[in-house]
Symmetry: C2
Subunit: 270 residues, 2 copies
């Protein structure tokens, strides 16, 4: 059994990129022939996976987009389809779970057993109690919200915590306390590049999941410059709408290739 | 169409209590004859609703306990069963959603359209962007995490925000900015009574959802004394395990009656 950090290294090595594509199916924005399929959510996800699966280190299925459509079985089959067709690719369930104790354990069971995700996004508003239940399996990880990409992110995340912003304090705690099994990542948005550098200074070794490149306006080049680890690695850069809604399969692939070119890690191996 | 605040007033008036029972089905802790039912989650929820439905102002189905069992259809049927058998009772989906923009809108659709909940719990770590999408329907509410009942709650929620704890700042913002349609509530735990009084001072008019009474050790009498509005109203006090796991139907009802006696609002009407 690979540990989470080994899976991550493998995903980067096999793909040669830090590009991750979010799977946020929106029926109204799907190509017409997919929109009328019997299971449009599953059909759309497979369409994207087929178009860009060789260009990504990770896929990030978004929970709400499936839950609003009562498409839990589509979500499960999507993940199984990635496992079958792209076995080295990391799967991050973006569900932003934020609960404690036995309830958080239920969410871990859901993400890791029911859906077989490698990692799940987690909200730390309730403190350690909301994070630690997701870290008991060395082969599965938690991706903890730290400094998100949205306009009002700083209201809570930017508060002072013993002389530094909360996002820096959370990063430090993640690096020094939560990461005993090497299975913690942080969500750090591309839209605040200076804060990205601050989080990197507070958590020199942790991998980051970086949203906000693409339609939200963040720059891939700047993300790499400010957010990478000293050795140039450590990033999963997630793009959703700018790729998902590009058009037909050729247009989707062309959009992904542009991000892929900006987010090369090394020559792909394996 | 009743507004959310009218639904809440009706729920208190019909039941004469501030008691809410959480529906957190755990198969291993169910009575043996329910555990072996074809759909144990639904059977257990109906068992609880039948036993205590006349003693509560609200039921609070817990999302994770259903999601871990792939029991979305049981969750939907549970809510429909409450609507049918206890039409005046408020239904709060405890899912602690914490996402932004179009994703948060998807979660609102899930809670209000798919599951027909009256309110959903919401996590404000991402700021206004995570709260406002749940407030666009005057007949549905958001119950925003403010000061939770768990041991490490203060790590984030107790940080200083312009001279007061974050939980007080969130309460003030909820009262003065978010509550334009009268559909905001706050989660304030029973385990920190002084903080409960602080939140009440910051949000004099908002209703509170108060967990932490029962197995977590909070006192119902102290919750009412510290947390009620000036007129004595304004509370939904949620108890889960101390009632759910009491035993057979008579034991469950007896456990609920003890809390009900401590949490009377006025003589039930209607």
């Amino acid at each position: 059994m690979l540990r989470f950090s080994q899976k991550l290294d493998r995903a980067w090595a096999v793909s040669g990129t830090s590009l991750c594509v979010g799977l946020d199916p929106v029926i109204a924005r799907m190509p017409p022939e997919i929109r009328i399929a019997p299971r449009p959510v599953l059909a759309f996800n497979r369409f994207i996976i087929d178009a860009v699966g060789d260009l990504v280190c990770a896929f990030k299925p978004q929970f709400a987009h499936h839950a609003a459509e009562a498409a839990e079985s589509d979500l499960a089959e999507t993940i199984a389809y990635i496992r079958k067709t792209r076995p080295g690719v990391l799967i991050i369930l973006d569900a932003k779970r934020g609960d404690i104790g036995s309830t958080a354990e239920m969410y871990a069971r859901e993400a890791f057993d029911r859906y077989d995700a490698d990692a799940v996004t987690v909200n730390p508003f309730m403190g350690d109690d909301a994070v630690l239940p997701f870290l008991t399996r060395p082969d599965r990880g938690a991706v903890v919200l730290c400094r998100t990409s949205n306009p009002d992110a700083a209201r809570v995340q930017g508060l002072n915590s013993s002389g530094e912003p909360l996002f820096a304090a959370l990063a430090r705690r993640a690096e020094t306390v939560w990461n005993r099994d090497g299975n913690v990542m942080l969500v750090v948005g591309a839209t605040a590049p200076e804060d990205l550098a601050t989080v990197r200074a507070a958590a020199p070794s942790l991998p980051f999941l970086v949203p906000g490149v693409g339609e939200q306006g963040g720059s891939a080049e700047e993300v790499v410059r400010r957010g990478a680890r000293a050795d140039g690695s450590g990033l999963i850069v997630s793009v959703s709408r700018a790729i998902l809604h590009a058009g037909d399969a050729n247009a989707v692939r062309a959009a992904a290739l542009r991000f892929h070119a900006e987010l090369k890690t090394r020559e792909a191996v394996g």
